[in-house]
Symmetry: C2
Subunit: 239 residues, 2 copies
Amino acid sequence: MSRRDPFQARPVTSRRGGPTKDPLSRDVIVTAALDLLTRQGAEGTSLRKVAAALDTGPATLYAYVDDLQELQALVLDRALGEVRTAGAGDWRRRLLALLESYFEALSRRPGLAQLAMNAIAVGPNALRIMEALLGQLDEAGMEDATAAWAVDLLLLYVTAVAAEHGHRRGKPDPLAGAARALDKVSAATHPRVHALRGQMLAGDGPARFAWSIEVLLQGLLRTPPAAPPRSPRKSSRRR
Amino acid sequence: MSRRDPFQARPVTSRRGGPTKDPLSRDVIVTAALDLLTRQGAEGTSLRKVAAALDTGPATLYAYVDDLQELQALVLDRALGEVRTAGAGDWRRRLLALLESYFEALSRRPGLAQLAMNAIAVGPNALRIMEALLGQLDEAGMEDATAAWAVDLLLLYVTAVAAEHGHRRGKPDPLAGAARALDKVSAATHPRVHALRGQMLAGDGPARFAWSIEVLLQGLLRTPPAAPPRSPRKSSRRR
DNA sequence: CCTGTTTGACAAACACCGTTCGCGACGACT
DNA sequence: AGTCGTCGCGAACGGTGTTTGTCAAACAGG
């Protein structure tokens, strides 16, 4: 393991010299981790590599972070910081733009979406996104009870799409394998899959994404809040 | 590394004795892996532990399986074998039953759903499920182009719900943390999240699941096949 | 029957991973 | 100046997936 480049070495050489190397806070750790994740992908990101990037040992990070999981949650929320919640146009256009931005943020960093599947996001940026979504759904005239669940449904679905889309990166052609497998299905045993095999994988990303969101919105706008015998607590209807 | 218990040793002691221990095929490996996954959970399942359960070393498995990923794909499809695709009643009831069965198969084994998120399922049982779904959607009067994408949307969503649900196991109260975080949001900065914080986490599993599927179906039945300017290849309309 | 060749199980090693522990140098008090 | 408490962090622990090299058993040919 080569020591760091002397040309980029920090001003003073002493490794013990107090704040000689900048103070190493949660913030710089999260920044470094997100940086690594963005540049190197999911496999390149580990606690040890983050530590190495900061020119220290793995144990040091545990002074600032409880756990790998906590670090991942922080990285996730940091990445969600670039999601644009403000937009122009009617609620439908703004909602689609918001979800596209969310999708983009997750799927630009390979592995981040899988990470988002493993942790219910409740960081400040996740809350900001939820708040914006709820506003747009309210504007659409959706009932509160429906909107509360709709947020979860929409974000979960988009996260899942990003995760499925994200793990395609890296590997040469992970869905070429799927295409081959789908092409091999016999028309005798699986007539419908055989007939539709071309269409199942068709469609470019953005169009299919927009179609999916439209499907979810149509459903959400037309489905009564919940099962009839439930909701003992009447919510104070807003607007 | 202690050798195995002599009391449970197989009839003949020679470790080289040809088929003294049963032949060790892909099949028994997958069976053992699924068994381990079912009983021990996601953390308890690793290549080495599967090998140990079969009383052999990790290298041996590589004679039958290319990769951990391939083994996981095989395990996933094996688990999907218990999904019931045949049911009674109208298409809507059968479709819900099928998706519930799929959800149950994924979420009974902690970690299996996360695994399903990382591999496009194209094994025989996945194909069987797709075929059944396409049949039910056709019965519902859905157009082919819509149905082809609907299969993906439905399975992806249910898989994601199972994954989110699945990683709750093990940890004591992973969404209690979410509840606490949601309770702390200030009404000033996030009024809507604050107002709806109770409802966002409300609802028991099955009711919320059924509601979600109903939302997806309503949307799928009411949304035109795809974006207008696309689809250069006209599909031979079925039915 | 003996002998060469092929086969394939598998112990050991490799390069990682997340996490814990304890030493020891430092800054701050007395 | 001397002592002490803090805390950064090197080293170690127990795990992971995967590769490699060896060597006994099974088989084919004379």
